[in-house]
């Protein structure tokens, strides 16, 4: 066994090296001593600079529409409402006085589509089960609100976002979705 205290000193050496790594002149010293150096800065001053998130980064779901906001892909089939693990989706289908579903652009549509974002746990199961690719995950994360009922329950209008927006935030995923939708079209 070495001298008592050498272990502590070796540990202090590691902290000293890390200390040097956080300064440009320190990195220069380490490089001249031929010690492998990493950029010692790992933190981001958050509100000023934002982290670059990977494409798959998911936060809360949104509804996709093509072209105009009335042409949404959702047909109010309620599969996502059923499968949502925390049960945070609430859908009401658009119906006329006789109780028959109203159709627009050749398909039924939701009259009401609410997601309680204070319950949603961003699990992406709604996206997985949607047969129409009508719901996708957003990467917007600065959504703090002062009122849970007024601001955190997103209604249809708040949820609607264009297909172009989806294309912009998730290009590769949107490309596969578009290919899937294009393959479906001629059959219908």
């Amino acid at each position: 066994m070495a001298v008592i205290g050498s272990g502590v000193l070796r540990g202090m050496g590691v902290t000293f090296k890390t200390f040097l790594e956080t300064y440009p002149w320190g990195r220069l010293i380490l490089r001249t001593l031929r010690i492998p150096v990493t950029n010692g800065l790992f933190t981001i001053p958050y509100p000023e600079t934002k982290q670059q998130h990977p494409e798959r980064f998911r936060y809360f779901p949104f509804l996709v529409y093509d072209g105009t906001p009335d042409n949404l892909r959702c047909v109010a089939c309620k599969i996502c409402e059923q499968e949502c693990p925390p049960q945070c989706i609430h859908i009401v289908m658009e119906k006329d006085e006789q109780g028959r579903p109203v159709k627009a652009h050749g398909r039924t549509l939701p009259k009401q589509f609410d997601i309680d974002m204070s319950i949603c746990m961003s699990c992406r199961i709604c996206v997985d089960v949607c047969p129409f690719d009508a719901i996708e995950m957003d990467n917007e994360y600065e959504l703090s609100a002062s009122d849970r009922y007024e601001h955190m329950i997103f209604d249809k209008h708040k949820l609607l976002k264009s297909a172009d927006y989806f294309q912009k935030i998730k290009p590769t995923e949107a490309a596969t979705v578009d290919a899937r939708l294009a393959a479906k079209k001629p059959k219908a």
């Binding site: 272990g7 070796r10 540990g11 790992f42 990977p54 494409e55 693990p85 699990c123 997985d128």
Partner: protein, 385 residues
Amino acid sequence: MELKTSISPTIETQQLEVNLGPQHPSTHGVFRMIATLDGERIVKLKPVMGYLHRNHEQIGERATYIASFPFTDRLDYFCAMSNNFGLALAIEKLGGIQASERGEYLRVIMAELTRLVNHTAVIGFLLNDMGAFGTPLLYAFREREKILDLFEAASGSRMMCNYVRPGGVREDVPEGWLERAREIVNAFPRFLDEFEALLTENEIVQQRCQHVGVLSKELAMNASITGPMLRASGVNYDIRKVDGYSIYPRFTFKIPLGTVGDVYDRYYVRILEMRESVNILQQALKEIPDSSASPAISPKGLALVKAPRTFRPPRGEAYGRIEAPKGELGFYLVSDGSSQPYRYHVRAPSFINLTVLEDMCLGYKVADVIIILGSIDIVMGEVDR
């Protein structure tokens, strides 16, 4: 003369009951210990749990099999990927689903990366409990963050991954992910060397940890302790070897064992386990089949992801277990033929490992109790469920 005889060599002291937690930074969440002290020595310690009970099992019984996955993320929130893996294995056994080759590799890679994440974090927290505020924990978190970035790139979320599915993984990893993973895994041993230089031979760490909270081999086995805690006591039991689930038999790796079973051994076994994990990861990342050769999820598994309600496994029961970073994580499912499990039970390793807390703490000081608890590696999300 009478006065002299009344003074006994040991002074009678009053026992003191001290309440540690539930809101105390050293208890790793809302865990409460009622310690009875004689001076500074523990004579009795009563753990109180249940402050974070979230009815996980009951929720699992009213949800479909797939809908339980996001909830398993929140059991042990450090190891979301391996929790998913355990449930996926149980569902595979129940429904007779075969996993795809690439899916198996990806799951093993994710599970081993999770082990790195968990062990770095727990060692950091253990040192935090010892009073080394900040430095080791932040060094550990710096490395952990790189792996969490990998998780985010693959699954979309750093911690609540919800990624592994019966039959494989939910979606294939993005392009360039495996290269990034290789880079991080290959750089990991250097961090471990640095971390060990900081801690392993540090005399202060040794003084604090060695021969503290000794757990004997017999007690560990009788109390069905699993994971690094059991192996630190010198019992060679690792479910990856014993059960050989998934594709673990294909990899060569060693099971590090401790000799004394004290806090130091539990720390050191975790360091060695990380080295073995890096070993497994390097093999898995080398052998993983190309996505053109094998899909990330088998067709049956994909059908299950797309339509969870159509999955109605035959009547019966299944128990899927994995070697989670904390020990044996088991999922017990009973099917009555419907799309929801009739019974859903989780065998949580940190809950069962916590049962020997009192036995390990008796006779030690209050400050030792904190590090003994830290060395068990508990996450309250899993203890209370």
